[in-house]
């Protein structure tokens, strides 16, 4: 068992002196968090080597992002659902259903893409709300409700499409998935805007990190060892700029990446800094205690499902735009990928634990593996087996941690 910090009835001065933790202890403590990130980097490095550099080629990198965009978007919602102590098995079917709805509205009824998309998102919210109602207020296990949902919406998608594939979508809608941010300065072979944007983001993150650390130090809170912090920030910034550069050498930053980034920032903010986000964590950790604190746990579950519905709808739109058609098979199996992403990223099956960045990293771990294995020509069968193994490893770690406590 990790040595617990002694809670002494000593003076605060002693505590302040223990400000900079030894490096090893810091790494051990945050192992799970950094572990995932290191794993992702390691996997990327591994496949980069095995594919003779194909993985990081700008074209492939862009494809990688596009292929995993909808999984990441849904993982953001699924994380909240899992943290709240529930699960949602219907996201794949809802994804497909909304894609079908979008196709019918835009292609068959010639709606403009904007109102059609809004209606789709609203529909997703309503679907989520329906399921959330039964889970939160009628107290039916989420597994059952969303299982039923999975069947219903799979069927409804089929019915809506009358068994056909419907498309193509209007050009503006396709931009959602296949478009890139406009380039304001034209430089030969390099989308400068994208690169500058990447640099700007890297700088902003670094500055934010520095300020946060200064804040912690000022309040006498234990912070990372200075050397470690500098190294980490520098490495992150460099990696970000590098990726921006890679993308800029192809077509620039994809629109969907901007959407993803905005959502990630939003959900990271919500889960770490807002009352509603932290309430969900409290509820997942100990529902009774949360209720005693005046937290309205049923309502929170309800909101988590509505949120999941909207995100699944958005993912449905992204997926349909990418394929440029809505097919009856859309969404098949997505829920497994999304749930696996959350668990690989550190969410706990019992609720209350899980980070947004973890889920995103988890999604990309699987995405990179899928992509790398595809490039290497490894069959989809092996890919599924390996997916299962990674998921197993992630859950075993979770169980081990829980039993250790």
């Amino acid at each position: 068992m990790t040595p617990s910090p002694t809670a002494t009835l000593a003076n605060p001065a002693e505590a302040a002196a223990r400000n900079d933790k030894p490096l090893l202890e810091h790494i051990k403590h945050n192992f799970r968090e950094y572990g995932m990130l290191i794993t992702l980097v390691a996997i990327m490095g591994f496949f980069q080597y095995m594919t003779d550099g194909t993985l990081m080629q700008p074209l492939n990198l862009t494809n990688l992002l596009l292929q995993n965009s909808y999984i990441v978007i849904m993982a953001l919602g699924m994380l909240l659902v899992i943290v709240a102590g529930h699960i949602d098995l219907s996201v794949g079917s809802v994804c497909g259903f909304i894609g079908a709805l979008a196709a019918v509205l835009m292609v068959e009824y010639h709606w403009h893409f904007l109102p059609a998309s809004l209606v789709c998102l609203l529909c997703g919210g309503i679907i989520g709300g329906l399921q959330g109602w039964f889970v939160a207020f009628s107290r039916i296990p989420s597994f059952i409700v969303t299982l039923a949902g999975m069947l219903v919406f799979k069927g409804l998608a089929l019915a809506l499409l009358a068994g056909q594939s419907v498309g193509p979508f209007p050009a503006e809608f396709q931009l959602l998935s296949s478009g890139f941010i406009p380039d304001l300065f034209s430089v030969e072979g390099l989308k400068l805007t994208s690169l500058l944007l990447g640099v700007a983001v890297a700088v902003a993150l670094a500055v934010a990190g520095v300020r946060a650390r200064a804040n912690r130090v000022r309040h006498g809170v234990q912070a990372e060892p200075l050397a470690f912090f500098v190294a980490r920030t520098a490495v992150f910034a460099a990696l970000l700029v590098y990726f921006a550069y890679l993308l800029a050498s192809y077509k620039g930053l994809p629109n969907v990446l901007v959407v993803m980034a905005l959502l990630i920032v939003l959900f990271d903010f919500v889960t770490s800094r807002t009352t509603i986000g932290r309430r969900i964590y409290a509820m997942g950790g100990n529902e009774k205690a949360a209720k005693l604190s005046g937290i309205k746990t049923e309502r929170l579950s309800f909101y988590a499902f509505i949120n999941m519905g909207v995100l699944a709808a958005l993912a449905g739109l992204v997926f349909a735009a990418r394929l440029n058609t809505a097919t009856p098979k859309a969404g098949l199996g997505f829920e497994l990928d999304v749930i696996a992403a959350c668990f690989i990223g550190g969410a706990s099956a019992s609720g209350g634990v899980g980070k947004v960045m973890g889920a995103v990293i988890g999604a990309f771990v699987m995405g990179v593996m899928n992509n790398g294995m595809s490039i290497l020509g490894i069959g989809i069968d092996y890919q599924q087996v390996i997916k299962g193994v990674v998921l197993l490893a992630a859950v075993l770690v979770d169980v081990y941690n829980k039993n250790k406590a």
């Binding site: 910090p5 809670a7 605060p12 309040h219 309430r279 950790g285």
Partner: protein, 511 residues
């Protein structure tokens, strides 16, 4: 401030005439409690005394059927735990009711975050939250990093965090429900320091416990409940340990004891069937020696929480001891699960029949036959007729009131359920039967029947370890009385000892 005379201050909490009944069965009768600011008030009583019911009424979990509650002079009636909290009544439970996945600071302010940002809306002001948490934690003399996860800290610290949380809600009354059960001596001392500090600030603290020495170490006044009735309220200096025990246990009306108690005679030279040497488990039970011979009834006497059930569980293999050795018929044994113990000839009728005893939806017949069937294995199946025969035999023997042996056991009354579980263990005809509170919740006549059963079994050669909080019972049937207190053995008494002798032994100031 001298609280034992004159009460210079007005009470912060007054409960008068509290009645509570469940479907006509009274659980609390005319109970009162007076709590003054700046005191630690111990609430004491045995199982079934009504302590937990009173606390539930206080904290809004249950609604009283009658009576009055005044908080700082105002009549109040909390209808939910949240309402009680808002009134200023804060409770810290035995199982820390916090969120282990959140940081210390976040636990303290869960649901009541200090906010910042647009219109003081949804953004949490972490800086303020952490600072306030630090202040609170310092106020109780704790020096920890409030940004670390609660689960990083041991239970003792978590309980102090729960107290800090209570303070953050500006509690007027702090109720501590058995806070020391999972703490070791050092941690208990730290907790007491904190309590004394808070008392000095004027907080009123209700301290529910069953550890005698802790009551005398830290409380100012004591209220005793027995069988749902209020027995009395004393300053701690006015009530010695023996008097306290007498008040808690009282004297059961000897409705069943019209004959002079029969002092069983026992052959001391017989070899030990079970011998425990230094058997213990860190944190649960200090090393204990115990010898039980065939045909002997060994009574385990002690107050609630003295470690009797823990000892029973160690003997039966429900928990693994980390100290000492257990011998059956002279051979050292280790039990890794109950089946090992059953095969060695042991049986344990557990204390908590609801969680460890009855299998609710199964019939009486199936419940009675369960352990016997488990021992026989899956292959040799007792047919329905055989099960019925066994069940009916014990139904008759123990007087179990049920319309048929096929009734689901959940439909039986508590007492009859207890008898059925007892029947389950008697059915395997063990060599040593451990009975943990077998007469709890059973009517007087039935108690008598069970006591006679125990004597019968012993005469037939079965060894019995008999745990009961009813001292009169223990004293009546035991060949030997092993006395436990505060998780260790304090002595043994021979057959025929009086109840007073047992109380004396428990109350004695032992090192």
């Amino acid at each position: 401030m001298d609280v034992s005379t004159g009460h210079p201050l007005a009470p912060v909490l007054e409960l008068t005439g509290i009645h509570k009944h469940f479907s006509g069965i009274p659980v609390l009768r005319d109970v009162q409690l007076n709590l003054y600011p700046g005191e630690i008030h111990a609430l004491m009583g045995q199982n079934g005394a009504g302590k937990s019911t009173l606390i539930k009424v206080l904290t809004g979990v249950l609604e009283a059927s009658g009576g009055q509650m005044r908080l700082a002079g105002q009549a109040v009636w909390p209808d939910s735990p949240l309402a009680a909290q808002r009134l200023g009544i804060s409770t810290v439970y035995q199982e820390v009711n916090l969120c282990p996945n959140l940081s210390v600071a976040e636990n303290i302010f869960a649901g009541r975050y200090p906010r910042c940002g647009i219109a003081q809306g949804f953004r949490i002001d972490w800086a303020t939250l952490h600072q306030r948490a630090r202040d609170l934690v310092a106020r109780i003399g704790l020096s920890i990093d409030v940004t670390r996860l609660l689960s990083d800290y041991p239970v003792a610290v978590q309980q102090l965090v729960a107290i800090a949380r209570a303070l953050s809600i500006e509690a007027k009354v702090l109720i501590l429900d058995e806070p020391t059960s999972s703490l070791d001596d050092d941690e208990v001392q730290k907790l007491f320091e904190v309590l004394r500090r808070l008392r000095g600030e004027g907080l009123a603290i209700v301290f529910v416990t069953h550890f005698l020495n802790q009551v005398y170490a830290v409380s100012d006044r004591i209220t005793v409940l027995r069988n749902g009735a209020w027995v009395g309220e004393w300053a701690v200096g006015d009530l010695g340990p023996q008097a306290l025990i007498a008040a808690m246990l009282g004297r059961e009306l000897a409705a069943q004891c019209t004959e002079p108690p029969v002092i069983p005679v026992f052959d001391d030279a017989a070899p030990a069937l079970l011998e425990a040497q230094g058997l213990g488990q860190s944190g649960q039970l200090q090393p204990i020696d115990l010898k039980v011979r065939a045909g002997e009834v060994v009574g385990l006497a002690g107050l609630l929480g003295s470690g009797r059930t823990e000892l029973a569980r160690l003997l039966f293999g429900l928990q693994a001891p980390d100290k000492g050795v257990l011998r059956i018929d002279g051979r050292t044994v280790t039990f890794s699960n109950p089946m090992d113990a059953i095969r060695a000839g042991l049986a344990l009728c557990p204390e908590e029949r609801k969680t460890d005893g009855i299998v609710a939806e199964l019939s009486v017949r199936e419940n009675i036959a369960l352990a016997l069937q488990a021992r026989m294995g899956m292959g040799r199946f007792l047919s329905r007729a055989e099960q019925t025969a066994i069940a009916e035999r014990y139904v008759k023997l123990l007087g179990i009131k049920t319309s048929s042996v096929d009734t689901p056991i959940a439909l039986l009354s508590g007492g009859n359920q207890q008898k059925a579980i007892l029947a389950r263990w008697m059915a395997i005809e063990p060599r040593l039967l451990i009975l943990d509170e077998p007469t709890r919740g059973i009517d007087v006549a039935a108690k008598q029947e069970i006591m006679e059963q125990i004597l019968c079994l012993a005469e037939a050669g079965m060894a019995v370890v008999f745990i009961s909080s009813e001292m009169s019972e223990v004293v009546r049937v035991a060949h030997r009385i092993v006395v436990l207190r505060d998780r260790r053995k304090v002595g043994e008494l021979p057959a025929g000892s009086s109840e007073e002798a047992v109380y004396e032994l428990i109350a004695a100031e032992n090192a």
